[in-house]
């Protein structure tokens, strides 16, 4: 929470500096803009960063950490859009869940993360591998959701289905729609 706020403040400051700079450089050459064009909404348009990372900490412990090729922050919605991201969810037992995907949206208020595009998660504790088209990390519930065709492989067990919801360890899961669990043998 602490760092989220500080991240937000930093982003807001950056935004103000950029907006101020733009105004400074443009005011000499352009006629005064109409009142309509100076709406706050336009001033607070999304700001893009490259190679940024966002970290959530609680009581000095990392909760999650996200890095991406680019981050687009929208101060109005408090949401950050990430492209080609890598995320790490830190668990209470010291293990972690490594996530990669093409797109993600982080709600800096709720700390929920919505992900899309070739999602792949690997658990460090047992080597479980999870793949899906879309995924969601619900921070408050500490629950993980997947959709668009999911696969979870752990040891000799393969779980597939349309949708999944599970705990942060992905040990207790509920699979909905064409649910299938294969234990032993080889994948079909």
């Amino acid at each position: 929470m602490k760092l989220s706020k500080s991240t937000y403040r930093a982003l807001a400051c950056t935004l103000l500096i950029i907006a101020g700079g733009l105004y400074y450089f443009n005011r000499e050459e352009l006629p005064p803009p109409p009142t309509q064009e100076a709406k706050p909404a336009e001033v607070s348009a999304a700001v893009t960063f490259s190679g940024s990372s966002i970290v959530e900490q609680q009581d000095g412990k990392k909760q999650w950490e996200v890095t991406a090729e680019s981050v687009q922050m929208n101060p109005d919605t408090n949401k950050a859009r990430l492209v080609n991201f890598k995320a790490i969810l830190y668990r209470a037992d010291g293990s972690k869940l490594d996530l990669v995907g093409r797109q993600a949206e982080i709600d800096t208020k709720t700390r929920d993360i919505d992900m899309a595009g070739d999602i792949k998660a690997v658990s460090s504790s047992d080597g479980a591998v999870f793949t899906s088209a879309t995924a969601r990390w619900a921070a408050k519930e500490r629950k993980f959701y997947g959709g668009g065709g999911i696969t979870l492989t752990r040891y000799d067990t393969i779980v597939t289905g349309d949708r999944i919801e599970g705990d942060e360890q992905l040990e207790r899961v509920k699979v909905m729609g064409n649910a299938r669990v294969l234990k032993g043998g080889t994948p079909q």
């Binding site: 669990v181 234990k183 032993g184």
Partner: protein
């Protein structure tokens, strides 16, 4: 080397050999596949709970039903709602089926086991896959190609095509115009030998109005012949 030490080493060696032999001979777990509309799976406990169009496949057996719970560690399964178990030429249907160690099945609620031309029915059927043995502990009904038999209890030995009925045995064959009763009966349906039913204990058979009684009655399935032993008595109906 002292004698005690030598004995201890020999014992340890034997233990290692036994452990190795056990490991080699332990049967590998067969894959288990569970499909359904919804499955909840707990990797820690190994428990899978499924709802809607459930299908559980293991080895040569296929279980279907509305709901199921399977413990991959204890190998116990519980399937309910129009349950059907198919394994090779044997089909078991019931309202509920519990399975233990992927071998022992207990079917309850309108249970019906069909194998080849014969079927066994009752409120409860217990079936052992490895022994190809079934037991209907009460209100059993065995249906054969040319008739049916009811009894308090029926055991079926499927590989031998043999069934043993106990208590209030009643056999009816419309094809043979036969109605017979006894305390006990053994049905031999083998195709390789002559099929027959051996009825014992207060045996009584009525065929086309003729009444045959005796300690033991043997009804041959291939023809209309009957043998009676133990002070037999035949009462012939006048034509």
């Amino acid at each position: 080397m002292s004698r005690k030490l030598a004995t201890a080493l020999l014992a340890a060696l034997l233990l290692v050999m036994i452990a190795a032999a056990t490991a080699v001979s332990a049967p590998a777990d067969k894959p288990v596949e569970l499909t359904a509309d919804t499955i909840e799976y707990d990797a820690k406990t190994g428990v899978m709970t499924a709802q809607g169009a459930v299908k559980l496949v293991r080895d040569k057996a296929v279980l279907t039903g509305a709901n199921a719970r399977y413990n991959t560690k204890s190998k116990e399964a519980y399937v309910s709602g129009s349950v059907k178990v198919v394994r090779e030429d044997t089909t078991l249907t019931a309202n509920e089926v519990r399975s233990y160690n992927d071998n022992y099945l207990v079917a309850t609620g309108s249970a019906l086991l069909t194998k080849g031309e014969n079927s066994l029915a009752g409120p409860k059927i217990e079936h052992w896959v490895d022994r190809q043995y079934s037991l209907v502990p009460n209100n059993a009904r065995l249906t054969m190609p040319d008739g049916w038999m009811t009894a308090n209890r029926v055991e079926a030995f499927h590989t031998e095509d043999r069934a043993v009925a106990d208590g209030d045995v009643h056999i009816v064959s419309d094809k043979r115009s036969l109605d017979a009763t006894s305390d006990k009966a053994v049905y031999y349906g083998s195709k390789t030998e002559q099929g027959k039913v051996v009825m014992s204990g207060n045996a009584r058979a009525v065929q086309e109005g003729n009444v045959l009684t005796g300690k033991t009655l043997t009804i041959y399935l291939d023809d209309k012949a009957m043998d009676a032993q133990g002070r037999p008595k035949l009462v012939v109906k006048p034509q």
